[in-house]
Symmetry: C2
Subunit: 498 residues, 2 copies
């Protein structure tokens, strides 16, 4: 049973759900209640939405569509759409099954991810699915099924020949190595179409930082053109439709800041499968305040990564480095972009740790891909950075992505309000609180506000004198500086020993 | 850090969440993203809401409030409210803890339920809490903690002296015994302040059916007056603030139709504690297509009910009857109300099973409360029904709740469109599909549309002749009849054997 209604575009965005607003009396007559799901069809298109109701704002015969819908889908004004009440999705059965502790088949995972990506499953239903991961750990077979299903329910972006990639599981402040590795590798003629995410719980993702220098949202065909011409790109993966279920799963994982390792693994590998990666280096920082707390956990995860990679024929190496020290000096999009430019342009004040780690990862990737002999990769990478080829390649990429290729590190605008923190005593910096740096950077506005963040004037292992500058806060407003200072009264970033 | 904005009442209702609409640029400046939680305060009141954003509909300096908010809370037009970005609630930590398989303390449950009822926890966070019930079964101690915390985070409705109650766990079509038991018990001078729920997954709850005869939404003080004067009432519990966390938990349980027994138990007992019940009869239908599939499950649940009841000093008896047969002939609010009136007015065509079961339950309650000697309760109840005192009491209650006390069963309006289903062959009705009856009644519009439903002209055990009328569909529109017929092509209600 279906009904025909004329659309009205509403200027409301939830950022999370497709909402259709119905006249309350009409909805009641159709047996639709606020919260029910409806299918909206027009021409040969369709979208699933959640019904909300209104007494006056929507007249009978009308249906109000939230911006979440019409921003994504081009529905002409005054279109008459057909709406149908939707019964419970069959994948709900599979979710129940897993919640009760049973294993799922490939077909069941496919159905779940397909319903997640098409919007058939609500946030609540997706949450139950995520929670089911805690009920019974996923078997390796299940992880493979999930990865495959997640990739196959989205776009597949193929490039000819060998496709290499470098991925960081995240958790460490700064650590913007990707923006150094990609130009190095592309400068050597390899294909490295890098899609990154935006920050979810951290103060900056690679996309947030790259966005300081250029656009990061491109449709698939344009990405293909950029990669064909320049060998690499640095774009936002969320703008494509790669493993689209992942994004929605991430949204319901966010409130609890609970990302089970299995979920992280599947999410990473599904995107590699969807972009046809053949050779992959995974950067996995290990440390109490990062995502992977200890080497035991790291090794278990490595085994699972390699299992999944093998099933898809992806050559993979996991680099586990034990550290809780931020990589680079800036934390927050603008400050991190400045660090990256200092490294690529080999300025005197470039952060050596960021350069070193990037070279290490690039070298490993070159060796894995057979471009360098064992033990020679890092040297090859150094050379490309040193002689300016990496920066030249980055300039090409920035230009291709609509940015200014002649940008200097000092051109980057950072928060106008700042506050220095000096050493309360002399001594050796014996501990850096990675989590606290992230917290403070977020209070200062990062990542939504590019200009906010923390700059570390000193780092772990430095000897400092009383009164010497330790770190600096940057923000767009004095308010945020105040809030960050308040947080720093309880807990600070550096511990100073003897 | 907080901001001041002028409210704008929006005519949009989600039925599920408190939404505040912010101007997108302003929100960004405040560091608020769509989906974040904000606290809205004015005078000495406050409410928690989820932020959505709009470009044009909300001007800077304004905040749009959805109807879900201003319908509940009286906020004068043009009020200036203070808004604050809310960090994660501390109860989220407790939810994580339980999701990872650990037991919670009373204080943790209290925090969770308190945050659920005050709207601090989002739907997603509540869903994780519900899902955590599958991770590790609740211990008896945890069930007691939950019941106590759930009751104590809401209103407490006290009545002097002994307070009796009868509760059905539900799952059986029809089964509207409450509306017969309450007037019988109240007619005998006992205090029985009955609060019921509306249907969630069934075609009618007691409140939906009572609403056909009278109002069911009253504030606490009015309920107290009605009960003081008449000894009983039949009101909707959702209009009060009893165990308010339960309702929100129910909303996230609905999509999966998964109500863990522990959740049902806590939800029932918390409301008994909140209304000061001292003596309680629980009606628990047991059968494959009801909520409790077998006697083993029923007995386990009985033990838990009795454990919780004992901790609160509530005398409780659980009546377990094995059946999958609807009680009464009508299914759907209007048809069920007609059955109830036929029983109370002792009409020739009254459904005997509904009368018998009601008498049985009323009798058990009278014995439990010490009003009748063991074995004499049912007889005492029969007498009150037979001599018209029960109907007289029901008339008082209907009148007190604003209904027409002189209503006759045949006055009740039922769906104008109908369709008879006749026996395809002669034989004995050997099976009634309780679930299918519920499904069909819902397709016909019940419970949102009172007029729709199924009337069973025959029942389990009846011998029928080919062509004899088996059951009748009623609906407000021909469309719904068509849909129900379609569903009945695949699966019917009665099985006819030899």
């Amino acid at each position: 049973m279906s009904y025909y209604l004329k659309i009205k575009k509403l200027d409301i965005k939830t950022g999370q759900a497709n909402i259709a607003l119905l006249n309350v009396n009409e909805a009641r007559r159709y047996g639709i209640r606020a919260g029910d799901k409806v299918k909206i069809s027009w021409q040969n298109k369709r979208i699933i939405a959640e019904a909300n109701t209104s007494i006056k704002r929507i007249k009978p015969g009308q249906i109000g569509l939230y911006k979440d819908i019409w921003e994504k889908r081009n529905i002409p004004v005054n279109t008459i759409v057909e709406i149908e009440f939707l019964e419970r999705a069959p994948s709900v059965q599979a979710i129940k099954k897993r919640l009760l502790g049973k294993k799922l088949t490939y077909d069941e995972f496919y159905q779940i991810f397909s319903d997640i990506s098409s919007g058939v499953l609500t946030k609540t239903e997706i949450t139950y699915f995520v929670a089911s991961g805690f009920m019974r750990k996923y078997s390796n077979e299940e992880l493979y099924f999930m990865t495959k299903a997640m990739a196959e329910t989205g776009e597949i972006l193929k490039f000819p020949g060998m496709v290499v990639d470098k991925h960081s599981v995240g958790g460490l402040a700064g650590n913007r190595t990707t923006m150094v590795v990609i130009p190095i590798i592309a400068a050597l003629g390899l294909t490295i179409p890098k899609t990154s995410s935006r920050a979810i719980t951290s103060p900056a993702g690679t996309s947030d930082t790259m966005e300081v220098l250029a656009n990061v949202s491109f449709p698939a065909d344009q990405i293909k053109k950029i990669v064909k011409k320049h060998g690499g790109c640095l774009v936002w993966g969320g703008g494509l439709n790669l493993a689209p279920a992942d994004d929605k799963i991430l949204k319901v994982s966010y409130p609890l800041s609970l990302e089970p390792y299995s979920k992280m693994l599947v999410s990473i590998m599904a995107k590699k499968v969807a972009t046809g990666v053949t050779h992959l280096i995974i950067d996995m920082p290990v440390g109490k305040t990062t995502k992977i707390p200890d080497m035991k956990t790291a090794k278990e995860l490595e085994i699972k990564f390699k299992y999944i990679a093998r099933r898809f024929g992806i050559k993979t190496k996991v680099i586990m480095i034990q550290t809780e020290d931020p990589v680079g000096r800036g934390v927050g999009p603008a400050l991190e972009a400045r660090d990256v430019l200092r490294v690529l342009q080999q300025k005197d004040n470039y952060p050596a740790d960021l350069a070193n780690k990037s070279i290490h990862l690039a070298g490993e990737l070159l060796e894995l891909a057979g471009e360098a002999k064992k033990g020679n990769g890092a040297q090859m990478a150094w050379k490309v950075l040193e002689d300016g080829r990496a920066w030249q390649k980055m300039q090409e990429i920035i230009k291709a992505q609509g940015g200014n290729p002649d940008i200097h590190p000092e051109d980057i605008v950072i928060g106008a309000h700042k506050k220095y923190f000096n050493a309360p005593k002399s001594g050796l910096i014996s501990f850096t609180d990675n989590k606290m740096i992230n917290t403070v950077a977020r209070i200062l506005g990062a990542p939504a506000d590019q200009l906010g963040g923390v700059y570390l004037n000193k780092e772990y292992g430095d000897r400092v004198k009383k009164g010497e500058r330790l770190f600096t806060l940057y923000a767009r407003s004095q308010d945020k500086i105040k809030l960050a200072r308040k947080a720093l009264e309880k807990k600070t970033i550096f511990k100073i020993g003897k």
